[in-house]
Symmetry: C2
Subunit: 321 residues, 2 copies
């Protein structure tokens, strides 16, 4: 048995997870960010104690893992976590002292990749990448079967790789980040721009334009993909542009990391095979050394529970030095 | 003692290297690519035998390392090497059978990074990157103290990361690769374009324009940097643009790999501290999470002998599974 904790800005969710990745018991309480750093830690410990009390006495607890929405260093110190108002919190040490169990931390996007590696689209893969397309763009790697850790804990900030010169400044401060092209935020922004700037000949044939030019603020990623699937020219162009830059980002990951599988997760991955099909066409021109096998492009399998399941198995992916 | 072999398209250079990275004996013969794959292998073996014969009988040979100008997989198979006309050559196995010594292979750009990690700008670094700016742009990583290997052997093709939309198609087939912005080839091409398109007010004050607008084909990277150092506005702009895109590429490496040190090598690194100074200014806006320590930017230390020295020490950086 392992305990996995998904530490979010709103809730702390935890679960007892068995060796097959099944959540046997789960428990969740509010994070209470406004009550300060110590209260958050108290709440994490409280979730862990609750779960330990719930487990059968004959079940041995292997370890605790925590997915943190911020930057974690190799020693288990949370260097920075904007949502929790944390800086330099030695969380691993604190939890180990409080509970007596070995505790492992990782960034929450990395944890999602570990869940995929353990039980989803990146299973049995040496080197794989998860890219999550949500309101932001994140991701995580498995490299040579291990989680990638780095001195600053920064590695795998996939959404903050610059892939073009679109003049859109990202929250991170850079211009042209993958996130500014391929997040749901970017998709919706670009759909509005395309509707506003649509030439007459497109307006005449676009149901998407007809249905939404007076209701721009009702446009969602789901709606854009629905119209694009129906071959609406404006909606399709917006999805096609997203795919183009996602392909450039993936082409960069191929050149820099050479994954065997690239898994697409996050809210926009609900567009499913349609997204993969548009993306795959764009990817052809972004692959270097075309004689070598291209990575497989897959959809992520674990969704809501990935945070708990991935956290429970962090220890399996820690580089032993 | 180790033997390091620098396998190039023109020459095969080898050396006996001691534990301090000093080349005690070296030997070089032509590669003879035109005589075919078997002849090249014969020549490699011949260099190794020559070196073994030269070593003192009391010196124990630890291993052999070979830097290959192509793509090498984890098993020591050269998957593709355009310059040598090789595909799927099991070089590690062949050399081990021929010589009886453990043999390690790596891509030549990675080998240059290993030389820096062993005795140069990346010494005692967990995670570091070498970027070589020559007629092309290459590079290698040290990640968690190890060489990065990948299923296809492709990792660390830094020059083929797309960093903008300049409409320049790279040799690799992609558009906007770092190489099309920051190689000496790109620098010289951009200098010619800037001279040809210079507005009157710049022409009036640019000695670089005055000296070279009739001799465009005499322009070299060295000349551009000389004029840029003297604050020539056209030459400085060309260097500034190179630094801008090099900074974007480095910003991407920070987001994706988070190195502690980034080392700049290759022909253009002869511009030295001037290049580092222009680059450092551009880098400020490309760093994500500015509260974290930035990587150090250094100049590579090993030059001509990096291929032999790095190859000799490949074994130290191989991931033990």
């Amino acid at each position: 048995m392992r305990i996995g904790i998904d530490l979010g800005g709103t809730n702390i969710s935890g679960g007892i997870v068995n060796i097959d990745g099944k959540i046997l018991t789960s428990y969740s309480i509010p994070t209470e960010v406004d009550k300060g750093s110590n209260k958050i830690i108290e709440n994490i410990v409280s979730v862990i104690r609750h779960l330990i009390a719930k487990k059968n006495s004959n079940q041995e607890l292997h370890s605790i893992g925590i997915g943190v929405p911020g930057i974690v260093d190799k020693k288990g110190v949370v260097l920075e976590c904007v949502n929790l108002n944390w800086r330099n919190v030695p969380l691993k040490k604190i939890i180990e002292e409080e509970t007596g169990y070995n505790t492992y931390l990782a960034n929450d996007a990395t944890v999602a990749a570990l869940a995929e590696a353990s039980f989803g689209s990146l299973m049995d893969i040496d080197t794989g990448v998860l890219i999550t397309l949500g309101t932001g763009v994140g991701g995580g790697y498995i490299i040579n079967g291990k989680m990638m850790t780095s001195p600053n804990g920064l590695a795998s900030e996939i959404g903050h790789m610059v892939v073009g010169n679109n003049n859109v400044r990202c929250n991170c401060g850079r211009i042209g980040c993958l996130e500014t092209y391929t997040s749901s935020t970017a998709l919706i922004r670009n759909a509005k721009i395309e509707i506003i700037n649509a030439p007459h000949e497109l307006i005449a044939v676009s149901k998407f334009h007809r249905d939404y030019y007076k209701n721009l603020n009702e446009i969602t990623g789901k709606i854009i993909f629905q119209y694009a699937k129906d071959n609406d020219p404006i909606a399709y162009k917006v999805v096609d542009d997203l795919a183009k830059y996602l392909a450039i980002g993936i082409g960069n990951l191929i050149a820099l990391i050479d994954p065997q599988v690239i898994s697409i997760g996050g809210g926009l991955s609900k567009a499913g095979d349609f997204l993969i099909s548009v993306l795959s066409k764009k990817l052809e021109s972004e692959r270097i050394f075309k004689s070598l096998s291209p990575p497989l492009i897959k959809l992520a399998k674990l969704h809501n529970d990935a945070g708990i399941i991935g956290a429970a198995f962090i220890d399996k992916y820690v580089e032993k030095n």
